[in-house]
């Protein structure tokens, strides 16, 4: 056996950029699985690469054939008639003397260890690769021959499959594997023969840079102007080009009178350009584009892109001017013609509900005014053209039309936070509007059964709920949100989950601390945060975890006794010593805690630990006298309920 390099290149028509990384991971996993299942995995290293037109797997150290192996074949019972045993041997073409014996659950059986010669890797690959390639995962696939034919992301047009210097022969959708690749569509040649060793260089000679890292580095190195970093745009450009080259263009200064938001959106979303800033950080009349080509000596690509951008900017200006013919306020009635959701009515219906909610949440006149106008930009031409600017355009129009600055900013910020990394609305009015809008969406969707399941969340309700939590916490707002949510039990449960997610995943609190704090109430996320901070601070102190363990014990005792409380403690029944001491401590601590903030209060509660420990050490809760027993249970019950308002300590996972 010898080790060989293996090259697989699947030549495809342009694959959507955002699917490529996932496809490569899928290809890697499928190939590893294949090698493992066929005893070929040992010592193999894999490298995966891609451009829009090719998925490439390169393996080193692949054995040219499988190891020989043994297969155990079981025959009749050892005690079977000799004729049966001989029959078994004859079928295998061996003599009875070659057979062995294998012990099994039903007694000894005659057996034979058959030697299986390892098959050539080339054969195995040729058999497996067509199926394996079609199993590569893509979110959406197509047929390109007949409906029952192969499905892939786009048509497969060539395949290179080389083990060592030999083609691994197979056929897929009419394409025969071979040793010929294709270069860049216009700058390279098609049908170029390659070997494992010269593959990458041959591609380079034909204007294809195989490595995404190298393409990324090339783009980065060629960005000479000051641009706003945009990793997502950079990745897109890395995966829609085989030979990226950055070019620089400019536009007329007069367009800078349009809002920067609009200009940047046109450049980024529609044209995939990086926008350029001047030294002061203001938008400069320049852009950087990435072309899939090696150069632009005559400036044709630059001037073409400049002309497209000019047309786009002219459109934007045309829409901006046209939109000024009707103010936001004048557009309110036409919201009746924009559907929010079939069963939940139009945006006019939504607007009315959000206005009411904004008032209910304590919004002032500005918040209510913003809520009235918030959705009007959905009827504006500029938003129909650039849907990603909804809200932003409304805010800009509100300002241009003389609404006050707070109202304008509230409308501008209404969709914030767009993600957990995004900032929250800047002003109170915007915060209230954003919460009211999200709350209405949540309440409405839940009321008609549009509840997120698994990965399906078409209305982004999780994001909406997390957005509410984030705003409440970061703006330190205590609003009656929970009261509204609790009108729908399912919605309340969903919301608690999002509160949990926020503190655990986004804020990084320990899961048991989050559970403990939420068990004591989630209505006010601001309080949740402060209680969590307190628990986190007290957690490492000596008394805390043992006390938490004791609380869990108390809870178990109460549960076993099925004791629900409601009985006053009778000090006369307390046994002097540990029990009376605990009561005295408890009474004292209770008074102190009531006056304290969450942090110090927890420390005070934790100071109960010695008294609690002594109590459990010296006192038998389950006393013979029923009155004494009830009194003790009552003491424990009060202790537990009194001190569980910050967190339910029994949720804390202790090491002791």
């Amino acid at each position: 056996m010898s080790a060989l390099p293996f090259l697989l290149e699947i030549g495809v028509e342009e694959i959507p950029d955002w699917m490529i990384a996932g496809a490569l991971e899928s290809l890697r996993a499928l190939f590893q699985e294949l090698l493992a299942a066929r005893n070929l995995a040992e010592g193999v290293t894999l490298a995966l690469d891609a451009t829009p037109r090719r998925l490439v797997l390169r393996a080193k150290g692949l054995s040219d054939r499988q190891r020989d192996s043994e297969e155990l074949l079981l025959g009749p019972a050892k005690s079977a008639a000799p004729a049966a045993i001989e029959g078994f041997a004859r079928k295998l073409g061996v003599s009875a003397g070659d057979l062995g014996v294998e012990a099994g659950p039903k007694g000894d059986r005659v057996s034979f260890r058959k030697k299986v010669a390892g098959r050539p890797a080339s054969e195995i690959l040729a058999e497996a690769l067509p199926g394996l390639i079609l199993k590569i995962y893509f979110p959406k696939t197509m047929f390109w021959t007949v409906p029952t034919g192969p499905r892939f992301i786009r048509p497969i047009r060539w395949i290179v499959a080389l083990l060592g210097e030999t083609v691994v022969p197979f056929e897929l959708a009419g394409v025969h594997s071979g040793n010929r690749t294709s270069g860049h569509r216009k700058l390279g040649k098609a049908g170029v023969p390659v070997t494992f060793e010269n593959y990458e260089q041959t591609l380079r000679d034909n204007f294809v840079i195989l490595s995404a890292d190298e393409r990324r580095d090339k783009i980065r190195a060629e960005i000479t102007a000051r641009v706003k970093p945009d990793p997502a745009l950079l990745e897109t450009l890395v995966y829609i080009t085989e030979y990226p080259t950055v070019i620089s263009g400019s536009f007329d200064r007069s367009y800078l009178t349009l809002p920067a938001e609009v200009l940047v959106t046109v450049m980024k979303q529609h044209q995939k350009y990086f926008s350029v800033e001047d030294e002061a950080g203001a938008l400069a009349p320049r852009f950087l584009a990435v072309m899939n080509s090696s150069g632009d000596p005559d400036g044709l690509v630059r001037s073409g892109n400049e002309r497209v951008l000019r047309a786009r900017f002219n459109d934007a200006r045309f829409f901006w001017d046209a939109d000024q013919k009707a103010t936001l306020a004048a557009r309110v009635p036409s919201l009746a013609n924009v559907t929010f959701q079939a069963k939940l009515g139009s945006y006019l219906d939504k607007t009315k509900r959000v206005v009411e909610l904004a008032g209910q949440l304590g919004g002032d006149a500005d918040a209510v005014r913003a809520a009235e106008l918030a959705k009007c930009d959905l009827t504006a031409e500029l938003v129909k053209e650039f849907t990603e600017l909804q809200g932003v355009v409304g805010g800009l129009y509100a300002r241009a039309q003389g609404e006050n600055e707070t109202v304008a900013r509230a409308i501008y910020d209404q969709y914030k936070p767009a993600s957990m990394e995004d900032s929250i609305p800047r002003d109170r009015a915007g915060q209230i509007l954003s919460i009211a809008d999200k709350l209405d969406t949540l309440r409405g969707c839940f009321s008609i059964g549009l509840i997120p399941t698994g990965s399906r969340d078409p209305f982004a309700l999780r994001r909406a709920a997390q957005g509410i939590v984030k705003i409440l916490v970061e703006a330190k707002l205590s609003l009656p949100v929970a009261a509204i949510l609790k009108e729908d039990a399912q919605l309340a449960e969903f919301f608690v989950d999002r509160v949990r997610y926020y503190f655990k995943e986004i804020r990084g609190f320990k899961y048991d601390e989050v559970n403990a704090v939420l068990a004591s109430g989630w209505d006010d996320p601001v309080s949740v945060e402060s209680r969590l901070a307190a628990v986190q601070a007290v957690r490492p102190t000596a008394n805390f975890e043992p006390l938490a363990a004791s609380f869990k014990r108390i809870q178990n005792i109460l549960k076993q006794a099925d004791f629900k409380g409601g009985v006053a403690i009778d000090p006369a029944l307390l046994e002097p010593g540990a029990e009376a001491d605990l009561y005295a401590e408890f009474t004292k601590v209770r008074v102190t805690v009531a006056k304290q903030a969450h942090g110090p209060a927890l420390e005070t509660i934790a100071s109960l630990r010695p008294a609690v420990d002594r109590f459990f050490d010296k006192v038998l809760v389950n006393a013979a006298d029923a009155g004494v027993r009830r009194n003790r249970l009552s003491l424990l019950h009060q202790l537990l309920s009194e001190f569980s308002t910050i967190a339910d300590f029994s949720e804390i996972v202790t090491t002791s």
Partner: protein, 296 residues
């Protein structure tokens, strides 16, 4: 520099050389070349076909009174259908760009994911928008379904935006400045259409009348579809005229929409109504044509 009409001549010649029937535009108003029977009905069934035609495409809501340099109520598409798709379809397409004088080695061409869907036709496909120096010049689609049915063969549909392409070639910022023919600009030929149809669609179209027309065309199409199953001589049955009524409904829907006459609650319902008759014709057509094959 090629005029608008020369670009059209060259593209038609290019595709004629590759085995396409060169058709004239369908004579009923449509929103896109896809809706013509030459595409919508021909992609159905197992029969290979190749066709190219220029189709004036009407989008009432896109009208701008002739004031916007890039938006038109009626623009011209060059529609190419290759059924089944040849293996070198993209190379053939790129060849067509070179045929109208674009030296691709000096330009930047990119294929960006763009899947196409037409709910009113029960049709969708997978493909790209083709970008030339940042300008979208073509929609390229591999048809997957039409009339709600899986297609027997996968056709490639190539739709060129002729005004954009010519503005690119002639280096014009406004579509109205394109030279259509020597001494005639696009504005000379088309400005009045843009202005008058914008006025009609946005201001003067009588909503009541348009609804009546919609109902009449829908009724006529439905009546025909109801007769088809019982018809004795299937070959003679007028499904093509029935389809023209679908197209009428579709254009009336678009005009009513531009006029702002379709409310939220109505909208989904109206789309459904058009879809129902479009799918009805497509299904009957497949049966009719397969019956003809069997008879031959």
């Amino acid at each position: 520099m090629d005029s608008f009409q020369q670009v059209i001549f060259k593209l038609k010649q290019y595709w004629a050389d590759r085995g396409c029937v060169i058709q004239e535009p369908h004579d009923v108003e449509v929103g896109a070349g896809t809706m013509c029977p030459e595409t919508f009905l021909r992609v159905l069934g197992p029969k290979p076909y190749r066709v190219a035609y220029v189709q004036p495409s009407r989008r009432p809501a896109d009208g701008r009174y002739g004031e916007n340099p890039n938006r038109l109520y009626k623009h011209s598409q060059l529609q190419v259908i290759l059924k089944p798709t040849p293996d070198d379809v993209i190379e053939q397409y790129l060849g067509s760009l070179e045929a109208i004088g674009i030296d691709l080695a000096k330009h930047d061409i990119k294929f960006e994911e763009d899947n196409w869907e037409a709910p009113t036709l029960g049709a969708w496909g997978i493909g790209w928008q083709v970008m030339l120096d940042g300008l979208e010049i073509t929609q390229f689609t591999y048809f997957q379904q039409c009339g709600g049915m899986d297609l027997d063969l996968c056709p490639a549909e190539i739709t060129y935006g002729l005004e954009r392409l010519t503005a690119f070639l002639q280096v014009k910022d406004s579509v109205y400045d394109i030279e259509w023919a020597p001494r005639f600009t696009y504005g000379d030929v088309r400005f009045n259409d843009e202005l008058q149809y914008s006025v009609y669609n946005f201001e003067m179209a009588d909503v009541g009348t348009l609804w009546q027309l919609f109902d009449l065309h829908e009724k006529e199409c439905t009546r025909l579809l109801g007769l088809y199953p019982e018809s004795k001589e299937k070959r003679r049955f007028p499904l093509l005229p029935a389809y023209d009524h679908v197209l009428k409904c579709s254009n009336l829907f678009n005009t009513l929409d531009a006029r702002g006459a379709i409310s939220v609650t109505e909208r989904v319902g109206v789309i459904q109504r058009v879809r129902r008759i479009a799918v009805g014709v497509a299904q009957a057509w497949v049966k009719q044509q397969s019956g003809l094959e069997a008879a031959q």
